[in-house]
C-alpha cells in the first residue's frame, strides 16, 4: 500500500466557497431566514398593535412554546423515519386521564400526572412496537391510534362523569408541587421589579392594579426551552443521535451495521408521546380542566413546524433547532395575523401559503448543501 500523506490532500475538483457561504449552509437556515422575515413583516404591519409590548410578546411566546413542545418530539421521530398522527388525540386523551384520576378518582395530582405519563409513553411504545414489528407505515398505524385515542377521550368522561369537559383540576392541584412544575410561573419577582421600574406595563385598572401585566415566565415556556435543548444535544452530540439519523436514513442499512433500529424507533415514539403529555399536562394545569376535544389537529401543526424547520418528511435529515424555529414562526404568524387585524377566516389560507413557501425555501437550501441532484 502506498504511503499515505499525513495531511489531507486538496481536491482540485471543488470550487472554493466563501467562509460566509459555508457557515450559512445548515439545515436551520430556512428557519432562520423565515424567522427574520416574519418578525420584520410584523414589525412593519403590526408594530404598533401591541404585538411587541410585554403582553404581546408573552402572547405569541406561549403559542410558540406549545408548538415547540410537540415539535421536538415530532422532529426526532421524523428524523428517525416515522411520524405520529396520534399526537393531537394523545393530548386530549392524556389531559382527560389526569382530570379523571385527580378529580373523579380523587388521587393526589402528582400521582395522577405520573400515572398518566406512564400510560401515555406505554401507548407510544405500543405504537412503535406495532410499526417495527409489522413493518407497516407509521402513517397508518398512528392514524388508527388517532381514532382510538380520540374515541376514548370522548367515551371515558361520558361514561364516568357524563360530561365531556372535566373541570376542577385547579382546586385539586392547589399546593401540589408537581402541578406547579407544569402550570406555575417562575421569575415573578423579576417581572414585578421590571413592572415597578416601569419597563413593562402594569395594570391600570381592575383588581390587579399596579401589578405587572406579565406576571412571570410560565412553566410552559420553560418546558419548551428545556425540551429543545435536550433534543438538540441528544441529536447532534451523542451516539444515540447518530442512531436516530441512521434509523431514518435507511433502516435496513442501519440494522445491517448493528444499529438497534427497532429500539431507536420505539424510543422515539415514546418520546413523542411524552412530549404530547407534557403539552396536555401544562394545558390542564393552566386551564384547570380537560376536554374531549383538546388537541384537535395538533399532529399536523407539529409536523408543519418540523417541516418548516427544515426536516425531511422521509427521515434521516433535520434539526431540533430548526423545528423550534419552525414552531416560533408558526406561532408568531398565527398570532401576528390577529394583531394585524387580518380577517380571521383567512388565517387558514395564510397558514397554507406560508407552509408551501417555507418548504420550497428549505428544499432549495438543502439542495445547495448536498449539491444539485
Amino acid at each position: 500500500m502506498s504511503d499515505a500523506p499525513t495531511q489531507f490532500a486538496e481536491d482540485e475538483r471543488i470550487k472554493t466557497r466563501s467562509k460566509f457561504r459555508e457557515a450559512m449552509i445548515r439545515p436551520e437556515l430556512g428557519g432562520i431566514i423565515g424567522t427574520i422575515t416574519v418578525f420584520a413583516m410584523f414589525l412593519i404591519f403590526a408594530g404598533d398593535s401591541g404585538m411587541f409590548n410585554s403582553q404581546g410578546v408573552m402572547n405569541w411566546s406561549q403559542i410558540s412554546a406549545q408548538f415547540m413542545i410537540i415539535a421536538v418530539g415530532a422532529c426526532l421521530l421524523m428524523i428517525a423515519g416515522e411520524f405520529d398522527l396520534s399526537v393531537g388525540s394523545m393530548i386530549g386523551f392524556a389531559g382527560m386521564l389526569i382530570a379523571i384520576f385527580s378529580v373523579t378518582l380523587g388521587w393526589p395530582v402528582w400521582l395522577a400526572i405520573l400515572v398518566t405519563f406512564a400510560i401515555a409513553t406505554a401507548i407510544g411504545a405500543l405504537n412503535g412496537f406495532i410499526v417495527v414489528r409489522t413493518g407497516l407505515p407509521s402513517f397508518i398505524v398512528t392514524l388508527a391510534f388517532l381514532f382510538i385515542l380520540r374515541g376514548f377521550a370522548i367515551y371515558l368522561p361520558q361514561t364516568i362523569e357524563r360530561k365531556t369537559i372535566i373541570g376542577g383540576v385547579a382546586d385539586a392541584a392547589e399546593g401540589d408541587w408537581m402541578a406547579a412544575l407544569f402550570g406555575g410561573k417562575i421569575l415573578t419577582g423579576l417581572f414585578q421589579w421590571l413592572g415597578d421600574n416601569g419597563w413593562i406595563a402594569v395594570f391600570e385598572r381592575g383588581t390587579r392594579k399596579g401589578q405587572p401585566v406579565v406576571e412571570g415566565l410560565p412553566m410552559l415556556i420553560v418546558w419548551a426551552i428545556l425540551l429543545v435543548i435536550v433534543g438538540h444535544v441528544i441529536l447532534t452530540k451523542t451516539r444515540f443521535g447518530n442512531w436516530i439519523f441512521a434509523a431514518g436514513g435507511d433502516a435496513e442499512a442501519a440494522r445491517n451495521s448493528g444499529v438497534p433500529v427497532n429500539r431507536v424507533k420505539i424510543l422515539m415514539f415514546m418520546f413523542t408521546a411524552f412530549c404530547a403529555t407534557v403539552f396536555a399536562t401544562c394545558q390542564v394545569m393552566e386551564f384547570g380542566g380537560a376536554g374531549s376535544d383538546r388537541g384537535l389537529l395538533k399532529e399536523f401543526e407539529a409536523i408543519i413546524a418540523v417541516v418548516i424547520g427544515g426536516a425531511l418528511l422521509t427521515g434521516g435529515y433535520g434539526s431540533v433547532l430548526g423545528a423550534a424555529l419552525g414552531a416560533l414562526i408558526f406561532g408568531v404568524v398565527q398570532q401576528g395575523l390577529f394583531f394585524a387585524g387580518v380577517e380571521s377566516s383567512l388565517f387558514r389560507v395564510f397558514l397554507g401559503l406560508i407552509l408551501l413557501f417555507a418548504v420550497i425555501l428549505n428544499t432549495y437550501i438543502r439542495r445547495v448543501i448536498t449539491g444539485e441532484r
Partner: protein
C-alpha cells in the same frame, strides 16, 4: 312500553354542550321506560347527518328527535322519515315554521338568531356599543347567526367583530388577548359556549379586564357558572338543553301511549341566567344544565 326513540344531532362528537342532551334523553328514557339512542355525525358534517336520519328511519323506531340546522340538507330525509310512518320532533335549531314544513309534530328549542337578538337588545340597554364575538365553531351556521343576531340587536354592523378562534384553549385565550390588545376600546365580549367562554375567562383575568368588560355568553358550563358567581360574566343565555332532549321523549311517549299532544311549540330558551339564583345551575352545570 319499550318504544324506541332516536335523537340525531348535528354536533361533532367532542362538542361538550351536547352532553347535557345525552343525559337528558337518558333520564327521560329511564323515567318513561322507553329505549333511547343518541346519534351524531362524528365530524359534524351535515351531509353525514342526513344519512344518519335516513338510517335511523330504516331501523324502524317509533320516533325521531332531530335538529334542523340546515333546512336544505335535512328536510328531504326528515320528510321521508315522516312519510314512512315515523313521528318526528324538531329540537334545538331550525324554526317553528320549518318544523311544520317538514311535517314534524312540534318544535322544542331556541331560535338562535332571536336569542342573539334578544341578548343584543339587553346589552344595548346596558350601554354596550361594540363587542367581540368569540366564534369557536365558525363553520356551523347557528354560531354565526348568534353573533349576527347580537350585532343586529345592538344595532351595529357585525363587520370583523367576530373572530374565528379555533378550538384549542390556549389559542382561544391568546387570540382574545390579541384582539383586546389591538382593540382596547371594545365594550363587550360574547362567547358562544363553554369551549370559548372558559379560556376567555382566563384571558380576562390575565389582562385585568375581568369584571371590567361587559361579558355575556351562550350556554352554561361549570366555569361559566363560576364566572357568573364572581361577577365576571354578566349573564349567560340558557337555552336549557335538558328540556330540548327530555321533553320530546316525554311528549312522544305520551303521544304514542295515550294519543295526547301539546297544542303548541315549546321555547326552551332564551332564559337569561345571572348571578341571582345560581344554586341549582351550579349543582348540575355540564350535566343537566
Amino acid at each position: 312500553e319499550g318504544e324506541k326513540y332516536i335523537l340525531v344531532s348535528h354536533a361533532p362528537d367532542s362538542d361538550s354542550w351536547w352532553n347535557t342532551i345525552k343525559n337528558g334523553i337518558a333520564l327521560a328514557g329511564e323515567q318513561m321506560n322507553v329505549e333511547v339512542e343518541y346519534r351524531n355525525p362524528p365530524t359534524g358534517d351535515l351531509a353525514d347527518m342526513a344519512r344518519i336520519i335516513e338510517q335511523a328511519a330504516a331501523s324502524g323506531p317509533n320516533g325521531i328527535i332531530t335538529t334542523l340546522s340546515d333546512y336544505d340538507v335535512l328536510s328531504g330525509p326528515i320528510k321521508a322519515a315522516v312519510d314512512s310512518g315515523v313521528d318526528v320532533i324538531i329540537m334545538n335549531s331550525g324554526t317553528p315554521d320549518q318544523a311544520r314544513e317538514v311535517g314534524a309534530l312540534m318544535y322544542v328549542g331556541q331560535p338562535e338568531y332571536d336569542a342573539g337578538h334578544a341578548a343584543g337588545m339587553r346589552a344595548k340597554a346596558d350601554g354596550v356599543g361594540s363587542f367581540l364575538c368569540v366564534n369557536h365553531y365558525i363553520s356551523s351556521p347557528s354560531s354565526t347567526e348568534r353573533c349576527q343576531g347580537f350585532a343586529d340587536g345592538l344595532g351595529v354592523d357585525l363587520g370583523d367583530q367576530m373572530i374565528d378562534s379555533g378550538q384549542d384553549p390556549a389559542e382561544i385565550k391568546n387570540r382574545v388577548l390579541a384582539y383586546l390588545n389591538t382593540n382596547p376600546e371594545t365594550d363587550a365580549i360574547l362567547t358562544l359556549g363553554p369551549t370559548s367562554a372558559d379560556p376567555t375567562l382566563l384571558a380576562l383575568e390575565e389582562n385585568g379586564m375581568a369584571g371590567d368588560i361587559y361579558f355575556g355568553t351562550f350556554d352554561l358550563g361549570e366555569e361559566i357558572v363560576k364566572g357568573l358567581k364572581a361577577g365576571v360574566i354578566n349573564w349567560g343565555i340558557d337555552q336549557q338543553p335538558f328540556l330540548q332532549a327530555y321533553l320530546p321523549v316525554v311528549v312522544l311517549t305520551n303521544y304514542h301511549r295515550y294519543g295526547v299532544l301539546p297544542g303548541n311549540n315549546i321555547n326552551s330558551g332564551p332564559g337569561f341566567v345571572t348571578k341571582d339564583g345560581l344554586e341549582k345551575v351550579e349543582e348540575f352545570a355540564g350535566e343537566y344544565r
